[in-house]
Amino acid sequence: MAGTVIGPGLSIEGELTSQEEVVVQGTLRGTLTAKDAVSVAPGGAVEADIEAVSLSVGGNVTGNVTVTERVDIQAGGRLIGDVKASRLTIADGASFKGNVDMDV
């Protein structure tokens, strides 16, 4: 079982802090801090600054992203915001708008 799942149809407005994996299939507005992987599934929407170990974007993300490992924007995923991560992949069909800081 994934640690925390925000199911489709559910929306959270506020701060979400987690020690475990977070999957967003619904909506989250506010801030998202996780000490594990975060994934925004297709159909999921996050309007929040995200701090995590890794981030996978299949849905929509609006906000700045700070990640210690990697960010993957999948086909169909959309990310608007600045990304700070050591690794970043953007799949064909993904959209991205923002600055990238890869700690070079």
């Binding site: 079982m1 994934a2 199911g7 559910l10 959270i12 506020g14 979400l16 987690s18 994996e21």
Partner: protein, 182 residues
């Protein structure tokens, strides 16, 4: 997994959680939870805020009002401080609840007139204070009890040696000295 939501054990939410579907909470939520489906609160989970859902099953701690359109079930480990409203309410032995119980539809069925006259507004925020109050007084009571016995025996012992013997000796001494000089 696709239809439900889970707030895991290591997760804390500060804010409101709303929407469709069911939710299982094993972490902490500070804010209201309002879903169309069922709400399950795990044993070590806590919610500070109101909960609304279809069938609400509580094994953890809630400080806030509960409104179930189908039922509310308080399991033996549950602790709630706030009013409970649902057509069916079950409270297992061991569960601790504080607040008013209304066995009716949360929307406000005819039976709600009488109960609303008695207490018009829900007060979920004040409820936790009331829970703490009896514990504090119970702790103070034994401490306050011992002091009374002390004063009584002390007063009795001090009373007898009151006679003023040294003053009498002093008079003798002075008289002798005066006689010797004259």
């Amino acid at each position: 997994m696709a239809e439900g939501s889970v707030i895991g054990q290591g997760t804390a939410v500060r804010g409101n959680v709303r929407g469709e579907g069911s939710i299982e909470i094993y972490g902490r939520v500070e804010g209201d939870v309002q879903v169309t489906g069922d709400v399950t609160l795990g044993e070590n989970a806590s919610v500070r805020g109101d909960i609304a859902g279809a069938r609400i099953t509580i094994a953890g701690t809630v400080a806030g009002e509960l409104r179930g359109s189908e039922a509310i079930v308080l399991e033996s480990t549950a602790q709630t401080a706030g009013d409970l409203t649902a057509p069916r309410i079950a409270i297992e032995e061991g569960a601790r609840a504080r607040g008013m119980l209304r066995m009716e539809e949360p929307g406000g069925a005819p039976a709600s007139r009488a109960s609303e006259q008695r207490r018009p507004a829900p007060r979920p925020v004040e409820a936790p204070r009331r829970v703490e109050a009896p514990r504090a007084s119970a702790m103070e009571a034994p401490r306050a009890a011992p002091p009374p016995p002390r004063p009584e025996p002390l007063a009795q012992k001090k009373a007898p040696p009151a006679p003023v013997v040294p003053a009498f000796r002093g008079l003798h001494g002075r008289k002798k000295k005066i006689r010797a000089r004259s």
